[in-house]
Subunit: 398 residues, 2 copies
């Protein structure tokens, strides 16, 4: 029998999805499972997107240009320029989800063996995408004690080598919900210019900023045009995760030119999704206001409930729809699996993502868990009750 690749063996399993078989078993046993493990919002997709699908009149479901249709890129330009990004359709490559924007960015900018610095905990799939391209992730720790703020610049400088090519930030952050300040962004800018590094800005959660806080993109910073690549997606903004529609944005012409070669190899992004994506840009502000209000409420419910539990600590995040909380447990992987396999309360349990999978440093995050507050507040409250009871009886409590 031929052997699979070492790369395949090294490829990490998704911390968000790897416990799915245990959740499936729990459901087979008749338990209700509250899914806080995955960032799949329950919010309805804007009606305008769905109408665009239902009213589509094409007869041939055809390839689109590899860089995306001109009309969609024009519409996206309208959206981004309202945010002050000052781009043209030529600065955009439409991608299959934000995931593909990340892989194209990595392949375009980094050679095998090159290094990318990422504050951890970080979106677990960065590890997978780096592994695919034989890129080395150099993590630097951020800490729950200060809400996972950007690590000191000196910590970045400690790991910079002649192989370092890029820094990745996710802002607002998945998994921590941390929203980077203007000062932190300026510090990153100075660092990237000093060491000639690309700055990859994953902005999947741009619309999810709370308490009136301001979102700052590196696209807002002067003098960084050649360094910045924005990786974006419609998944969270319009609750359209299953559309698999994203884009890569950069004013660096060499990156666009080469990124397009990778885009050409896979032919094109989805045609129907680009039609829906065009309609999405016209989503009325009231949709986002309602969503923002709902998520703020959910966050408040979740954070309050968590901090009310004995031995639990959860910072109050400024954005996205995740929290990372510290539990009085021996091992988050064991605990999350135990919740599905062994525990129930009123025949209910909770699926969460062990934070270990969001760290690259071995041993980090072993008592931390990521939760996505993507359920309505009643369900969230029930999930928190369930979790509180679980923490009381978990055999590995410390």
């Amino acid at each position: 029998m031929p052997q699979i690749s070492h790369k395949g063996e090294q490829m990490p399993a998704s911390p968000i999805r790897k416990l799915t078989p245990f959740a499936d078993n729990a459901k087979l046993q008749g338990k209700k499972v509250f899914h806080l493990n995955i960032g799949q919002p329950d919010i309805e997709t804007p009606q305008g997107m769905l109408d665009a699908i239902h009213n589509s009149t094409f007869k041939v479901w055809a390839y689109t240009p590899s860089e995306g249709t001109l009309s969609y890129r024009q519409k996206l330009t309208e959206y981004y320029n309202k945010l002050g990004y000052n781009i043209t359709p030529q600065n955009i490559i439409v991608t299959t989800g934000g995931s593909e924007a990340i892989t194209i960015a990595m392949m375009t900018c980094l050679n095998p063996g090159d290094e990318v610095i990422i504050p951890e905990p970080f979106y677990a799939n960065y590890n997978g995408f780096a592994c695919q391209s034989d890129i080395v992730v150099k993590p630097i720790l951020s800490y729950i004690e200060n809400g996972f703020a950007l690590p000191e610049i000196s910590e970045f400088e400690k790991v910079i080598t002649n192989k370092t090519k890029a820094i990745i930030i996710c802002n607002p952050n998945n998994p921590t919900g941390y929203l980077y300040s203007k000062e932190e962004m300026e510090a990153l800018k100075a660092l990237c210019l000093k060491y000639d590094l690309f700055l990859f800005s994953d902005e999947a959660y741009r619309e999810f900023c709370y308490d009136g806080r301001e979102f700052i993109s590196p696209m807002h910073l002067d003098g960084l045009d050649e360094n910045v690549l924005v990786m974006d997606t419609v998944s969270k903004r319009y609750s359209a995760c299953g559309a698999r529609l994203g884009c890569l944005i950069t004013k660096n012409e060499a990156v666009i030119k080469t990124g397009l070669k990778f885009a050409q190899a896979r032919l094109s992004a989805g045609m129907l999704e680009q039609i829906a994506g065009e309609a999405a840009v016209d989503t009325p502000d009231i949709y986002f206001e309602a969503v923002n209000k709902e998520y703020t409420h959910r966050r408040d419910v979740l954070v309050k409930a968590l901090n009310g539990m004995d031995g639990v600590y959860c910072p109050n995040p400024g954005g996205a729809f995740y929290v990372v909380a510290k539990f009085p447990i021996d091992n988050a992987d064991k605990f999350c699996q135990w919740m599905l396999e062994e525990f129930s309360y009123n025949n209910q349990t909770v699926m969460m993502a062990p934070a270990t999978g969001f760290y690259s440093t071995p041993g980090a995050g072993t008592n931390e868990v990521r939760m996505a507050y993507v359920l309505n507040s009643d369900d969230l409250q029930s999930a928190m009750t369930c979790l509180e009871e679980a923490l009381k009886v978990y055999p590995g409590r410390v």
Copy 2:
């Protein structure tokens, strides 16, 4: 300014799409351009697929499981088992187009530096996908004189090293239209078993076999279960290229298990496409009969017209909807560009793909051109008239 990757520089441009700017210019000048360069059929997508989209009732456009929805995989199983593949839903990973099936297959089975043997000319994007994963393509020549039949097994054996991990075939073949015989498939089977190689079978054009010829998949061959990976797509079968929906099929459990880790990293394939794909399996036979008849007619028109031109030779292919023809020209890249930039006849011209981009051996295919017969026969006839006139006056005629 930070520098892009060497990989990005080495990444080949698409021979199918790289002349697009010249075609765009020709259109701006008011010329009609017949597109024979790209396998985008003009055939209508089955109404059942479009109905499935228009009638969809979901409110949240959500992620699906990384391996694809169970209901779509069950429906696909029905389709494949009618073909005699004898699979279960657990043998399938649903992918974003056939393209992603190829990249997941490569990453799962081959390490950087490993070698894959591909009879050339071959689907150009194999080069791109191999480049992405730092896999080495070892081409072996097939020849227009025998219609691009499978090269002798001894030719494969000449290039086999301890780095050789897989063979890729595309059957029926893109770009040549060649349909591999039972004997050729058996010979490949023996070779793969002898050297313990994976056999990647790209079956995008499975439904397009002409003159009553039989399609043989390696899935039909006994004793090869652990070696075979089928890479498939709905693009051509249902004229749904823009759906970006494909799948990877294998009975090798280690490949499925590891392939799923790559699939998890990019989260999921499109949700709406899987709904449409499920409906597609119920497309009535009459659709395929009409399509097959239409393509047979187009092929006949094209092949007859080409072989009637002075100095042109075109084999009569048994499948797919491409031909590779030999022209009395100095250089196919120059000729195809000249057709768009310099030539017109009745204010019309033809866009074709230089065959050089489908060869990996330098200098091979310089007088060959790939054409896709994806236009109705009147347009095809006009394109052939145009081409005949062009060949009479092309300055680089030999």
